[in-house]
Structure formats: structure tokens, C-alpha cells
Amino acid sequence: MNSFPWLKAWRRWLPWLVLVVAALVLPIVLPPFRLNLLGRFLSLGIVALGIDLIWGYTGLLSLGQGIFFALGGYALGMHLQLGSLAPGQLPEFFGLYGVKSLPGFWQPFTSPLFTFFAIWIVPALVAGLLGYLVFRNRIKGVYFSILTQAALLVFFNFFNGQQKLINGTNGLKTDTAKVFGDLVGSDLVQKELFWLTVVLVVAAWWLCRWLTKGRFGDVLVAIRDDEPRLRFTGYNTTSYKTLVFAVAGALAGISGALYTVQSGIVSPQFMAVPFSIEMVIWVAVGGRGTLIGAVLGAVLINFAKSLVSEQLPETWLFIQGGLFLLVVTALPDGLLGWWWRREVKP
């Protein structure tokens, strides 16, 4: 392959070409409905990037990323609920449950600045705390995965049960809120959100790339491959794992916020168990440890899902399961790993 540098470049850059085309050409050709779908799927690429960071590189298979995804969504959802109210007014749903005054933890979300930080810092803190407790006790492998899923269920049930605090099962709608005088659900705002998503996907990719390309990234890979060995060399692996788990949490929060405003609602369904498993499947199919593969996996699988579901609603789950089996058995490095073959970092 070395005698064909153009072939190597082609292999290397084609996935990027696909993404650039998706980001630049599709907004012109796609009708608003499809463009909105693409924006949602691209925003899911950000949570997938975080999963690639903790799973593909560090070997931490979290089945609970929905927690952080939802926290980001709720942070923005609460702000939008408050944003278009006259002073003294409460979001509508509070009236259904006879709540007369705004719960205390809602107060700071009136501030756009606070919300901007809360979207990623709250999930990062929750992930960091959960991660620290788990990693300090050296819980790993399957036990870690089960624990994250259990935590997800706790959050799922809690949010479902809290009508008076966050409207329980119904979630928070965002479409009818206004930003700068326009409805969030309008084509104009949705198109702006699409561009914002593109920018943030690139930024998130860049962050993950920066984290993984140097010695810090080598430590992550070494944790995945032989963590005890690394401890005997002097590395406090707990702090590395806590740090990347918090970063993945922050990315999930940003992803959840973007997804919320492009779907018009945030609800406890964001923390449903199957959804968090699907996130892992996107990364597996796209290619673990490739970063860009995680984004491609999220976009491609979700587009396939929406196309198949429109035609044959019953069959999607079978196709998704089949795809996962195919990748695990035939392409263990995912689509991108197979496309790139194995390359050594210089």
C-alpha cells in the first residue's frame, strides 16, 4: 500500500469527505425535515465521541451515558421553559400539579450564562463523582458496565417519578420557546442549530483527538490493555479514568442539549436502558478507537433507522441486532477500523 500514497490518502480521508459533504452539501439539498434529522444524528455523534474516548481508548464500557445525555438536555430544557415567561409566571405544567412557586433548583436556570455552563459541567461533575467512587474501589470490566446501567435505571426512575419537579414522564417541551424572538421549532432556528451542531461536533472531535494523540492518550490505551502494569510504573490510573469519564460526561451533556432542541423535547426516555446500549452500538459499528468512526456510526445507523422505520417499522430492531452481530464477528474494528486497517501511531 505504501507504493500508492494516493490510495493511502484516499483511505485516510474518505470518511472525512463523507462528513464534509454531509455538513456542507446536504443543508442545500435536503428538505428541512431531513436536515433536522441530520442535525439530531450529528449531535448524537458527540455522545458517541465520548463513548469512544472511554470505551474505545480506555476500555471502560459504560451503559449509562444516557444519564449525562439527559442531564444536558434537561439543563437546556429548563432554561427554555423559563426563558419565554413573563416575570412571576411559571411553566405551564406546574399548574397541573398545583405547584405555586418555582422549585429552588430551577432558579439559576433563568440565566443563560448559568445554563451554558450547567449543560456540560453538571454532567461532568456527576460522571466525575460516580467515576471516582467506582474507579477508586477498582471496580472494572463487566461490574463497571452493570453498575453504570444500574445508575442509569436509578436516574430513569427518579426523573419519571418527579412530576412536581420536572414534569415526570412527560418531559419538557422546547419547540414553543423563543430564542431571539424566533420559535425554537422554526425552520430558521433549526437551521442555525444544525450549523451549531456541525461546529460542536468538530470541536468535540478536536478535543478527543488532542486527548488521545500524545502520551496522555497512550496512558488511556495502556489502561485498557494492562492497567495493573501501569500502576507499577507509578501512574495513578484512578485519576486518569475519572478525568476521561468526566470528559465523556460533559460531551454527553452537550450532545443531549443539542438533541433536545432539535427534537423539541427532553424526557426520561433519554435515560431508557436500550437507548444507552444503542449509543455503544453506534461506536462499535463505526469503529472503536477511531473517533471519527463514532460520529459516522451514530449518523449512519440513525439514518438507517429512520429510513427503515418509515418503510418497515417492525424490522428495525432485527436489522440493528444483525448489524451489531455482523460487526462483532466480521469487523471487530468496526467499519472504519476495517477501512483504515491497522495503523501504528508514529
Binding site: 502520551r215 490505551v221 494492562d226 510504573t233 501512574y235 491497522r342 501504528v344 508514529p346
Partner: protein
């Protein structure tokens, strides 16, 4: 004997696994700069003994002192940062990193996560990595995945990683298993050169190699020290002969001299 304080001292260390005492009131001390060989039949507790020093196992009884302060209750990474390095019985290199990156990780063991993120490797460290790659003959393979190296190359890479880590005390578990005669000899030379500036403890089955080291020998048996002394004295000790006769594993290597 000078009044040098021991660098490492184990006092009455006992470790039990479900009622089986892998180490029984083990006492051992190493002077700074010493080169020491530890031998013993299979199951004598050699690896358990390294696990206790490096913090992987906590002894039920006894204490371990490094430069006069106890290591008990310290984690593996804290002990490593104090200056104790370990090479494992089967080579454990990071398979999905290149030999160069393996060495760069070994050399950065004292760094914090933020230092790794925001600081590069300085010129001196890079030169050292390059030098070590040359010493172990892995310059050509420096950019391939370490997982693809031969067994001998992995052994050497791991020894190079231990040297890169630059600990005061090197614990070397079976460094020549699976190496050719020439490589074995080079390893013995390397360890002899490291001693003096470093303190080196070698666990090995290969008696010819131990003889080559010309180091005092400690014989472990059933979790305690059976005897200690120069190789000639140890191999003529009737207790040692009996122990090795009892288990045929190393009989031939003991007798061929």
C-alpha cells in the same frame, strides 16, 4: 560490613491465601547498590514476595521498609513513585503501542495527567528513549506495534522500560526466560552494570545465569529464607540440595556444575 542502612527490609512477613501460608515470617534485607539473586523451587513464594514489596498484596503479619519507612498501606503507584520498579515474569509490554511509546510511558511515570497533556517530552528524555532503543536493538521496530515483537524482543523491551523508569530498586522476575544464550549473557552484563548505582534483586531459575551474576544468593523455600550466601556455598548446603532433590524442577541445572 559497613554501617549502611538497608534500602529494603522485610521483617517477619507472612501472607496467607485461604489458610495456606505463601510467605512465613520472611526476613530479608538489601543494602543500597547490592545485586542479589533469589532462587527457590516452584511455589516457594518468589512472586508473592515481589507482590508484597510492590503493594499488590498486603501481608497479614510483618512489615516492609523502604529507606526506613513502611510501605504498608501504600498503593502500587505510590510505591513505584518512591523508586521501586518491577519487571514481570511474562513480559508485559503495552501491545497496542510502539516500543518507542512504551518507553516514553515508562520514562514519564512521575508525571501528572496534566503534565502529560500540556507538556511534551523534554530533549534529554527523548535522547534517553532513543539510546535505550539502540541498546535493546529495537530501533528498526520503534514504530511498529509492540504486540508484534518476538518473545525475546518483548523481554528486552520490558527490561529497557524498567531501566527507563530509573527506580532505585529494580525487582526483576525471570528476566532470561525464553532468551537465547547470547541474550542471557547480555542481560547478566546489563544487570551487573546497573547494580552499584541501583539496587537489583533478580529472581531466576536459570542457574548458569545466576552463576554469571556473581551475586549473593537467597534461597526461598515454602515461604521463608532457607539460606543465604555466595553461590558455591549455597549449592553445597545440604538443606538446599534436599529441597531441590525433593522437587525435580531444577535438579539438572543444580547438578551440572
Amino acid at each position: 560490613m559497613t554501617a549502611l542502612k538497608p534500602l529494603l527490609e522485610l521483617r517477619d512477613v507472612s501472607v496467607s491465601f485461604d489458610g495456606f501460608w505463601a510467605l512465613k515470617e520472611l526476613n530479608l534485607s538489601l543494602r543500597p547498590g547490592e545485586l542479589r539473586a533469589v532462587i527457590g523451587p516452584n511455589g516457594a513464594g518468589k512472586t508473592t514476595f515481589l507482590d508484597v514489596i510492590t503493594g499488590k498484596l498486603k501481608p497479614q503479619r510483618g512489615d516492609v521498609f523502604f529507606r526506613g519507612s513502611s510501605l504498608l498501606g501504600k498503593s502500587e503507584n505510590q510505591i513505584a513513585r518512591l523508586g521501586i520498579g518491577r519487571k514481570f515474569q511474562t513480559p508485559r509490554v503495552y501491545q497496542n503501542l510502539s516500543p518507542r511509546r512504551n518507553l516514553e510511558l515508562a520514562i514519564s511515570g512521575q508525571s501528572t495527567p496534566l503534565q502529560l497533556l500540556f507538556g511534551g517530552l523534554d530533549g534529554a528524555a527523548r535522547d534517553r528513549v532513543q539510546h535505550l532503543l539502540a541498546v535493546v536493538g529495537l530501533e528498526e521496530q520503534a514504530h511498529r506495534l509492540a504486540g508484534g515483537l518476538s518473545h525475546g524482543q518483548k523481554q528486552w523491551l520490558e527490561i529497557a522500560m524498567l531501566v527507563a523508569q530509573d527506580p532505585d530498586l529494580l525487582l526483576v522476575d525471570e528476566p532470561v526466560a525464553g532468551l537465547s544464550d547470547a541474550e542471557t549473557e547480555r542481560t547478566a552484563d546489563l544487570l551487573k552494570r546497573l547494580a552499584g548505582e541501583h539496587t537489583v534483586l533478580v529472581i531466576e531459575h536459570d542457574m548458569e545465569f545466576i552463576r554469571n551474576l556473581q551475586a549473593p544468593v537467597t534461597v526461598l523455600h515454602e515461604g521463608h529464607v532457607l539460606c543465604e550466601g555466595p553461590m558455591e556455598q549455597v549449592q553445597n548446603d545440604p538443606r538446599v540440595i534436599e529441597v531441590y532433590l525433593g522437587s525435580d524442577a531444577d535438579l539438572e541445572t543444580m547438578e551440572d556444575h
